[in-house]
Symmetry: C2
Subunit: 512 residues, 2 copies
């Protein structure tokens, strides 16, 4: 409660100053014009998009492809003449893991190849395996007895509760005026817990049982576990089952297959049919470098006083492993790279230093951005401020796919409303005008927001982001390149405005 009152007081003070602040915002419309022109006429979006997806491939944390992508982006920054290009470690991440072969097919009752891929960081199968598939029925630990000693070398699956239904709603959409208006509403939580204590206990029990099942299957020496995932029509959402921990614990080889293919085997088994599969997973573990990294590069500030200050823009370079991480998040990387390219090409001499950061390991827990913040900005546990804490004016992030920018989330900071209202004016006709006080989460700007440094994610048109992210189909074709051109222009302008503004952007309070 104490915190809330403090917050309200500051908002009130901010309100007193907001009107004058509004009238003071200058935007260099000549520069905005140049940014738009460079972004539209000389767009590098297509080339960047191709390189980051098709050529680099999936960029799972620790993988060979992520290493290649770090080097490729750093080389590109150097080629563009950016300064202080660095592949910068933030500390330890864990083991790298590459898939060298993945194959699964049903052999009986008839041959049918299956769409599937190993869950990340699982062990390989040690060559091609052929086995009957066993559908386990485990309601409690007591059920282990039924299977003890019978599963060695077998392929197993557990029933799924997932199902699929036809898409009577469009799978891709743009935000309507009504959506945008709703997006501005800030709802205040409360009204009871989402789950009852009994439900919560049930969920805990299920998780505990899942873990015991996993341990049991590992001990029994099963050859492979097959899982279904959400997604349909051949699109498969891929996650991880294994661990990148340097403890090198053995894991069960596990593959996630298309829900329809999983359903077919499950139904056959439930109807008493014998199903066999051929499967092979070959993986390579990378144990030569456990560190995690971010890629950094700059356009140095030129104002004598302000040049130690920073404007950051960034996106995460890592992805999941079965697609090429196109919408999540090559799109964000491309937009941010293009934004800084535009500024560099225009020869801007910013007052503050502009720094781009391509984060590692976002998908595994925002490690790259949090590691950077821990190293350079502040400790969010101890509240210890570090060198950059009072130097960073803002961090801008793109990580909601390749849809165009429709506005920005202010993370509750009312002081920013008049500033961003003004800054977005030149982009209303490009569809970007919604300034919302709302929070948004699940990506790298929260690492900054968590230590009181303004960190922003944009409102973006969803297009079909939800249909493809984290899937085997998050590929080049998913990226809306026209939209990304718009986004790069807007980001370049926001970054430029932030770099040139007399003061750093106003902050929310952050202390013990």
């Amino acid at each position: 409660m104490k915190y809330k009152y403090q917050f309200s007081l500051i908002l009130f003070v901010a309100f007193l100053f907001s009107a004058p602040a509004y009238s003071q915002e200058n935007t260099d419309l000549e520069m905005i014009y140049k940014i738009k022109t460079e972004g539209i006429r000389n767009s590098q979006i297509q080339d960047l998009a191709y390189n980051l997806t098709d050529l680099m491939g999936p960029r799972l944390s620790g993988s060979t492809n992520l290493r290649r992508a770090r080097q490729w982006t750093a080389d590109k920054f150097t080629e563009w003449g950016l300064s202080n290009v660095k592949i910068d470690t933030y500390g330890e991440f864990g083991r790298g893991w590459d898939v060298k072969k993945s194959y699964i097919a049903m052999k009986d009752p008839y041959y049918a190849p299956l769409i599937g891929y190993p869950k990340a960081w699982t062990d390989g199968t040690g060559g091609l395996i052929n086995s009957e598939v066993i559908l386990l029925d485990i309601q409690s630990e007591a059920d282990f007895e039924k299977y003890k000693g019978t599963l060695n070398g077998k392929v197993i699956m557990l029933p799924t509760t997932l199902s699929t239904s036809p898409a009577f709603e469009p799978e891709a959409r743009r935000l309507t005026e009504e959506d945008l208006s709703n997006r501005k509403e800030v709802s205040i939580g409360g009204g009871g817990a989402r789950y009852s204590p009994a439900q919560l206990q049930q969920m805990r029990d299920q998780r505990a049982l899942d873990q015991k099942v996993n341990d049991f299957l590992l001990e029994e020496g099963i050859a492979l576990r097959i899982s279904g995932t959400r997604g349909n029509f051949g699109t498969v959402f891929h996650t991880r089952a294994g661990s990148y921990s340097t403890a090198k614990n053995k894991t069960i080889p596990e593959m996630e297959i298309a829900l329809e293919h999983f359903g077919r085997i499950e139904r056959l088994l439930k109807n008493g049919q014998t199903v066999t599969v051929d499967a092979e997973i070959e993986v390579e573990w990378l144990d030569d470098d456990y560190k995690g990294y971010n890629v950094l590069a700059e356009i140095p500030g030129t104002d004598k006083t302000l040049k130690p200050e920073l404007v950051l823009l960034g996106a995460h370079l890592d992805s999941w492993h079965a697609g090429t991480g196109a919408n999540d998040n090559a799109a964000g990387v491309v937009v941010m790279m293009e934004a800084i390219r535009i500024l560099k090409t225009l020869g801007v001499q910013p007052k503050r230093t502009i720094r781009i950061a391509l984060w590692g390991e976002e998908e595994q827990g925002l490690y790259g951005s949090r590691g950077y913040v821990q190293k350079y900005v502040a400790d969010r546990q101890t509240f210890d401020k570090k060198g950059e804490w009072d130097k960073i004016s803002a961090y801008y992030n793109v990580d909601n796919g390749s849809g165009k920018i429709r506005g920005i989330y202010l993370e509750g900071n009312d002081q920013l409303v008049p500033i961003f209202e003004k800054w977005f004016e030149p982009f209303h006709e490009m569809g970007a005008k919604t300034i919302t006080r709302r929070n948004t989460g699940s990506t790298d700007h929260v690492a900054f927001d968590a230590v009181g440094v303004p960190g922003f994610q944009f409102i973006q048109d969803p297009i079909d982001y939800g249909r493809g992210y984290h899937t085997n189909m998050d590929l080049y074709e998913r990226m809306q390149q026209g939209d990304m051109t718009q986004a790069a222009i807007i980001v370049a302008a926001m970054v430029y405005n932030t770099a040139q503004r007399d003061q750093k952007l106003p902050r929310k309070p952050w202390d013990k």
Copy 2:
């Protein structure tokens, strides 16, 4: 023109009699109630759907799985107590072809398994092949010289013009009242050819060049051709490149892969990268039986005079090869089987004989139904009538997926309007009420219509039929089982009404 005047005259005569015909239509509403009740309470749709898709698998013409499915459906008819169950040949079809293994993955610049499947009736690769992929640029025969002698053992692809874009419209839908109203409109053709003579020539030239390219590639001894197809997000439309001809011509092993995967390789090659793939196709040719077959079964007629007459209901049992032919056309088979099961279970003693026909080889050119017509009904070239020509009152077909029935196409036969208006009355509340004079094509009822025997296809809700038919994702989950229950009930009622009607259904004129 002569024909048209004749046709108008007959329509006029039909009109004179249509009002009395309307008032004469009797529907046995007690039986309709029984049909509805049996269909809803004791539905076998789920079991039939599972067996025909998951258990039988893809049912490509001539394949082992189609043979299994013929036997399984015949056995099921026998189990149900139907009469004259027959696996009836209509003549020669061609070679059977089973896929025993299908694998394709990109190896360089990094490993990535690809979603793909052999085109039907292509040859195998003779084991696992590994090769660089060559993107050919062939604008004319002159370009062959560039490649002559260089392609042996290579994997090749030709550029695609296909592309994919986000689905801003729903991929599944039901017909609205407006759609149904539009469906009733009959437009009269004319207004110029679709293509100009120059365009037609260009298309002919392209087809001729395609054939020459194919011959050239075969001669050069390429190891594999990779093609892209329409479809996206992992859904691949599969066709055939090889031949079931008993001439046993050698074909190029060819795989159709997901458009995004094709696009990735194409872009890499266009950007000068080396791409290699691992691929393997193993096929088995079946040369022990070249005949094509339909599965037939009956509920014999009981009226002394009318029992030699026939009411037919049917659907095609064959499918394409990469899914399990669920919406196309296990759904139709299941609906028709369920319809006759309902009638048999109710112990109906129809005046006319009710015969179900599960056609073979529809996907290869309506061979099963045309073969049946040729054998038993009439020769559509010579206009020679055979035994069943004047005995068949109607043929009912379902082959537009698993969406519920919304009405029926009359194939231009106005005389039928009052009859079907009456017969559909008990189904208005189930959403079926649209009687359209329109034609519809592309499936087995046209074999009957072509010889002047009334053949009907129903108007069905499309759901997501267009997204999945002929694809690797035409699987059990695509089938809307509630809708199929409705369809089976309506078909059973239509068949019953036709069997009991005093006269056969009125026909359009058919003669030389």
